[in-house]
């Protein structure tokens, strides 16, 4: 018998992912055996440390491009930059949970490792170069989120949210697998590059290509569901409202980032030659998403729901970059938008948390009345986030929207860019409504509870990031430019 040859596996390429997963697993054990009930914050700190370490481990990988596990996992600057963004999202979400959980009386040690697992799922989505890996990434992310959504047991809305999310998610996941199977059946491979090579050799009339299209349609639907593209967006408002607020915050940026990162690879590695088929469909979905999300938001009097609808609308703007990811501008706009949206939206959710009293929701517009007089700094921070989400200069949100719209315009979708502009006009209305309430009405409720440290850090980091990136975006632009070059090459 020959000597056992171990297939070449370069663990270095998945170092951040490995760190997150092993750290989370270890943390789970540490939490169970060493951290007493009531001091679970320690687990949170350790989780943050783990995410930071993962980010540092990624540093030497900058500029590295390569695949491992037989081409199933890919590392390139695109994936690495997104990994850092995802780690940042994880860190901010954990920070804002530190005080939220005990206040809501739902603190459990496994919460923090679960967030880490979710982050690992997102990283996997950014690195996956094989449909099965993408499926695993989506499942890791989703199952974690199902659990986290229902974390506020026994609050009924939380369980309801988990149930809705789970059933719809399972339905979508079922079709995702079906889609993979069809693609596999049509092309004989689940590797993105091989699917692409197969499709490139065929005429568009080939019946096998039709099967590939059918499978691709199902996979796209599953991604659309995760990224909340209309008409697969309906779970979003109900689920966000029911989830613990930090989880909703995490979800709003996490699922979008993860799912769409994978979609970029799928569209441009596996299906670029089928562009003529999916582009109109996705463009239609994107337009619908921007309209439905923003129209839904203007009707809301509940700020948490408003943010949920706005997150649907923003999914549309992110899609602008995704759809033209074949051009240089596309992936750049995508990464930049995700980063900016993460900062602004997590910040806005953190303000929501800051306003929640013990177990009590304070999400109505009226709860924001006169916030400027009660807590000026909080109000100013919220105003920054609202302006950024609305895309008002000089915040980062303006840059991001401008970037995405330019990318779509130059990528050959000017009409979609126009829809984007018009819907942003609608969007400005409801973001400004919050600002009006905060600055221009008299306070109605009692003063908000004192800000605690975790939330303060969160809000300050998010607000500072939003403003700084808005004023001096050049360094971040340079970063995303170099990340996107790698995708094209």
């Amino acid at each position: 018998m020959d000597a056992l040859t171990i297939p070449p596996v370069d663990l270095g390429l998945i170092a951040p992912l490995l760190v997150v997963v092993t750290w989370a697993t270890g943390l789970l054990l540490v939490d169970t055996f060493f951290i007493p009930v009531g001091r679970k914050k320690l687990t949170g700190y350790l989780a943050i440390a783990g995410l930071v370490v993962a980010g540092l481990v990624g540093l030497p990988l900058w500029g590295v491009s390569g695949s491992t596990f037989g081409g199933m996992v890919r590392l390139d600057p695109f994936a690495l930059t997104l990994t850092w963004v995802f780690l940042l999202i994880g860190i901010l979400s954990i920070t804002m949970s530190l005080d939220y959980l005990p206040r809501q009386d739902i603190e459990q040690g496994e919460y923090y490792p679960l967030i880490m697992f979710a982050v690992s799922g997102m990283i996997l989505l950014a690195q996956g170069a094989d449909l099965i890996v993408l499926f695993l990434g989506i499942e890791t992310l989703s199952i974690t989120l199902y659990i986290l959504t229902g974390f506020a047991y026994p609050r009924l809305t939380s369980e309801e949210a988990a149930m809705k999310y789970l059933v719809l998610g399972a339905f979508a996941a079922g079709f995702f697998v079906y889609g993979i199977a069809l693609i596999f059946g049509a092309t004989g491979s689940t590797r993105l590059s091989e699917i692409g090579a197969y499709a490139a050799d065929r005429d568009l009339g080939d019946t096998n290509l039709t099967l590939l299209l059918g499978g691709a349609a199902m996979v796209l639907i599953a991604f659309s569901f995760k990224a909340a593209l209309a008409p697969f967006h309906m779970w979003i408002p109900d689920v966000y409202q029911g989830s613990p607020t930090p989880v909703a915050a995490f979800m709003s940026v996490g699922t979008k980032g993860g799912a769409l990162a994978a979609l970029v690879r799928l569209l441009f590695e596996a299906l670029p030659t089928l562009n003529a088929y999916w582009l109109p469909v996705l463009a239609g979905l994107t337009a619908l998403t921007m309209v439905v999300g923003n129209l839904g938001a203007i009707a809301q009097m509940d700020v948490k729901r408003m943010l949920a609808y706005s997150s649907i609308g923003h999914a549309g703007y992110v899609m602008l970059g995704v759809m033209v990811a074949g051009e240089q501008r596309g992936p750049e706009a995508f990464i930049f938008y995700i980063l900016v949206y993460a900062l602004s939206n997590l910040g806005a959710f953190a303000v929501l948390i800051a306003l929640e009293h013990q177990g009590e929701e304070a999400w109505q517009l009226d709860d924001f009345a006169g916030l400027y007089q009660r807590q000026p700094l909080l109000a100013v921070a919220m105003a920054i986030f609202m302006f950024s989400l609305a895309g008002v200069p000089p915040t980062a949100g303006f840059m991001a929207k401008f970037y995405a719209l330019t990318a779509a315009w130059e990528g050959g979708l000017p009409w979609l860019a126009l829809v984007g502009v018009l819907t942003s006009a609608i969007a400005a209305f409801f973001y400004l409504r919050v600002i009006i309430r905060m600055f221009m009405t008299e306070p109605e409720g009692e003063p908000a509870p004192e800000l605690n440290r975790g939330l303060t850090i969160d809000i300050v980091v998010a607000a500072a990031g939003t403003i700084i990136i808005g004023l001096i975006p050049a360094p971040i632009f340079a970063l995303v430019e170099r990340s996107a070059v790698a995708l094209g090459g």
């Binding site: 018998m1 020959d2 040859t5 297939p7 997963v21 996992v73 697992f117 690992s120 099965i132 695993l136 499942e139 890791t140 199952i143 974690t144 199902y146 659990i147 047991y153 026994p154 809705k164 339905f171 979508a172 079709f175 049509a186 491979s189 065929r202 009339g205 080939d206 096998n208 039709t210 099967l211 299209l213 349609a217 796209l220 697969f232 309906m234 779970w235 109900d238 439905v292 129209l295 839904g296 203007i298 009707a299 177990g359 009590e360 929701e361 008002v392 200069p393 000089p394 330019t406 126009l418 502009v421 006009a425 609608i426 009006i436 600055f439 221009m440 009405t441 050049a474 632009f477 430019e481």
Partner: protein, 792 residues
């Protein structure tokens, strides 16, 4: 030096917050040094500009997006910058008196400074996108200033209208500017201005013009977007004087003037501007004549003058350019003075309603003199600056290239407007200062205000007289530089009071004669019925907002009705369409019904039991029956695995099946016993149709795919290399742990997380067993967690 000019105002704005301290009027005059400094700084740059050059400064901000921070100072920018900083100085000082009793003064002045910086940014920006950023900032600050007295619903409404109209127009403008940039390949003003011929010939030219004009018309309150400006009068008077008369509303005019060398010269541009501007000018002048509120009166005359400026840009030519520049300056001077005076009267008398004022000549003589000066200029009476400006406007109308009809119409419109201005001015003056004092309506002590408060209106009012008398030469140089930028070519400008007897003078004089003759009918005119102040755009706009909101609500309510199965239904239907359409159009041909000769009886039996089991599950009357039926289905799936050479799968499947059934029984035993059909027959039929369609589609796809052999299968690779490379005879196992080990790792992780979740769900029970299985919200004040049964 241009950067500091813009940024000092922006950065210094928080400094103004100190004005919340006592001694506010003093602090305000101290703060007025900031705009004064800026005024001085601007003047230091004026030398080369007046000599016909441009000052350009550039920092690359976001080169990737073509966003450069370019600042340019030419004649037009200089004119505007001097107006903004000069009047800004007076306004800041004046506001200290006007809002001296208000602790919000600091906030107000901070907004004002912020606005000033933004407005300077608009007029100094050398890049259209930079300009746009500042443009939107002016809208936002204007909104903050209008809504300053936020306790009043009218103030909030006015603020919202102004923001929505100018903000919406701003978006149109953005698209227009982007089009412009695409056509030229650069977002720099200088490149755009150099590419006039290319632009006018471009197929996108009309679209770009319409979008840009939408932005400018909304900002500069042209018909039919004029309604927001009277609503904006809810702002404290200093803000009205500054933003809504002297500066911000002229941003639209500024941009049109700036772009006219590149975009003008076509019928689309010239005629649109001339007609819309002329209509706005005349209409607003007539409406102004009929107002009773001082500020409303001034607001409509402002709209009218904005229309006049727009019209002159459209009329074009040398005189058009000169007229625009001169009128901008003249109007800024007298109108800011008048607004501040209206504020003085309001401040002293407690009202600005013409019907309740009167007889103030004895109590407020200084105020009266200053008002008279400003009004004379407003009315275009000779030797005032307003007269010089009006003569140029008439010249522009007489000399226009747009044809005789438009020329005559324009002259007539100007004449009518001039008459209306005179009557308006007379009504303002006579109702305020002449006649009897209405003691009942006014405050007890009515007096001239402190001299400090009269500096603000006094300086521009006196300048309106001094410029034509003493300062005509230097002002001519400034106007020459500004009109050169509008005209696109250098111009010789010599402003003069006396041009000799010419048609313009005759029209002007006859208008004055007719106007003065009509003074005694002024009040009848104002009160006349049947002259509706029509075009109530604000009402229409309110209704539009309301409609949009109801529409959005209805749409959302329909889509988002809260029930899971509705969401699933929509998802399933979309899926059917997305997958079904390509399949039906292209894939049907791939289906082959090869009858397999080896087909065995037991295979048919196993496969046939699956649909039977499915139907049995659906039809089951008891829960146990349903579980058994599902178990049969699972077992048959396992059997199929066995029959078709997959023993590993069959084993796993059976094991899992047993476990699942046990779990099912466990969990279902604690659920309510009932197992009936909740849904109506109609709903069930609808769902059945969707389900059958789904089944057929999926089955069809299987038929089409499984017969596919267009690629080299991977199986031989694994079969051949299993023992060799993976050291295992069971190829499936080798693949799992070796070739695709990463999958398995991930699979384990997923399973592990699921278990974690289950553990979490079940363990939580220990601490919280006291929860009654009812719908009890966690807190009493939590209306949202109460479920709504939307069943109808």
């Amino acid at each position: 030096m241009l950067y500091p000019i813009v940024f000092i105002a922006l950065v210094a704005s928080p400094l103004a917050l100190i004005a919340r301290l006592p001694a506010r009027s003093l602090i305000a005059w101290g703060l007025a040094f900031i705009p004064l400094t800026l005024f001085g700084l601007t003047l230091t740059q004026a030398g080369p500009v007046l000599a016909g050059e441009q000052v350009v400064e550039e920092i690359s901000w976001v080169p990737a997006l073509g966003l450069n921070l370019t600042f340019t100072l030419d004649g037009l920018s200089l004119l505007f910058a001097l107006i903004i900083t000069g009047i800004g100085t007076l306004i800041v000082g004046y506001a200290g008196h006007y809002l001296g009793a208000d602790s919000g003064l600091g906030r107000f002045l901070a907004y004002l400074m912020l606005f000033m910086g933004a407005m300077l940014g608009v007029v100094l920006a050398g890049n259209v996108l930079t300009m746009f950023v500042f443009w939107e900032l002016t809208s936002v600050t204007s909104y903050l200033l209008i809504g300053y007295k936020h306790d009043y619903p009218d103030a909030r409404r006015g603020a919202l209208h102004s923001l929505l109209v100018t903000g919406g127009g701003g978006l149109a403008l953005l698209v227009g500017l982007l089009l412009l940039g695409q056509m030229v390949g650069s977002y720099e003003f200088r490149d755009i201005l150099a590419a006039g011929d290319q632009l006018r010939a471009h197929s996108l030219y009309p679209a770009a013009v319409i979008l840009i004009l939408l932005g400018c018309f909304t900002k500069s309150a042209q018909i039919p977007f004029h309604f927001w400006l009277p609503g904006a009068m809810q702002a404290p008077t200093p803000a009205s004087a500054f933003l809504h008369s002297a500066t911000m509303v002229k941003a639209g005019v500024y941009l049109m003037a700036r772009l006219s060398p590149a975009l003008g010269g076509t019928a689309l541009w010239d005629v649109t501007l001339a007609v819309v501007g002329g209509a706005t000018m005349t209409f607003a002048a007539i409406v102004a004549m009929r107002q009773f509120d001082l500020k409303a009166m001034l607001a409509y005359t402002t709209i009218s003058m904005l229309g006049a400026l727009t019209m002159q840009i459209g009329l074009g030519g040398k005189y058009g350019a000169e007229g625009v520049a001169t009128n901008i300056l003249a109007h800024a001077l007298y109108k800011s003075a008048l607004f501040m005076l209206a504020g003085v009267i309001d401040h002293e008398c407690g009202t600005r309603d013409l019907r309740r004022l009167g007889g103030l000549r004895r109590y407020m003589p200084q105020t009266m003199v200053i008002t008279a000066l400003a009004l004379l200029s407003f009315g275009g009476i000779p030797i005032m600056f307003g007269f010089v400006a009006k003569e140029l406007m008439l010249e522009a109308a007489l000399e226009t290239d747009l044809g005789a009809t438009l020329s005559i119409l324009a002259v007539a419109a100007i004449a009518v407007t001039a008459i209306a201005y005179l009557i308006t001015g007379w009504r303002l003056f006579s109702n305020t200062f002449l006649g009897q004092r209405s003691t009942a309506a006014m405050q007890q002590h009515v007096d001239d205000p402190t001299p400090g408060m009269l500096i603000g209106p006094g300086v521009p009012a006196i300048l309106s007289l001094f410029i034509p008398l003493v300062l005509l030469a230097p002002v001519s140089t400034l106007i020459a530089a500004a009109s050169a930028a509008i005209y696109g070519k250098p111009l010789e400008v010599k402003l003069a009071l006396w041009h000799g007897v010419n048609p313009a003078l005759l029209v002007s004089l006859s208008a004055i004669v007719i106007g003065v003759a009509m003074f005694r009918f002024a009040e009848q005119l104002a009160n006349m019925r049947g002259w509706p102040i029509w075009l109530r755009g604000d009402m229409i706009f309110d209704r539009l907002i309301e409609r949009t909101l109801t529409g959005a609500t209805a749409l959302t309510r329909t889509l988002q009705e809260g029930r899971l199965r509705r969401y699933i239904l929509i998802t399933a239907l979309t899926m059917l369409i997305f997958v079904g359409v390509p399949f039906i159009s292209f894939g049907l041909g791939a289906i082959r019904f090869d009858l397999d000769p080896q087909l065995q009886f037991y295979e048919i039996l196993a496969a046939a039991l699956i649909p039977i089991g499915v139907i049995a599950t659906i039809k089951a009357r008891t829960r146990l029956g349903a579980i058994i039926a599902v178990g049969v289905v699972g077992a048959m799936v396992a059997l199929l695995f066995v029959l078709f050479s997959a023993p590993d799968l069959a084993l796993t499947q059976l094991l899992i099946e047993v476990l699942s059934t046990v779990f099912l029984l466990l969990v279902f035993s604690v659920l309510p016993v009932r197992f009936e059909s909740f849904s109506s027959a109609w709903v069930r039929q609808r769902d059945a149709i969707v389900a059958i369609a789904m089944g057929i589609l999926m089955g069809g796809l299987v038929l089409a795919t499984a017969t596919n052999d267009s690629f080299a299968p991977l199986a031989p690779f694994f079969l051949e290399n299993s023992l060799d490379k993976g050291k295992g005879a069971n190829v499936v196992n080798v693949i799992l742990v070796d070739f695709r080990g990463f999958d398995t790792l991930g699979e384990i992780t997923v399973l592990f997380i699921a278990l974690l979740g289950i553990y979490g769900l079940l363990r939580l029970r220990q601490g919280k067993d006291d929860v009654t299985p009812e719908r009890v919200p966690t807190t009493a004040t939590e209306p949202l967690s109460e479920p709504v049964n939307t069943q109808r």
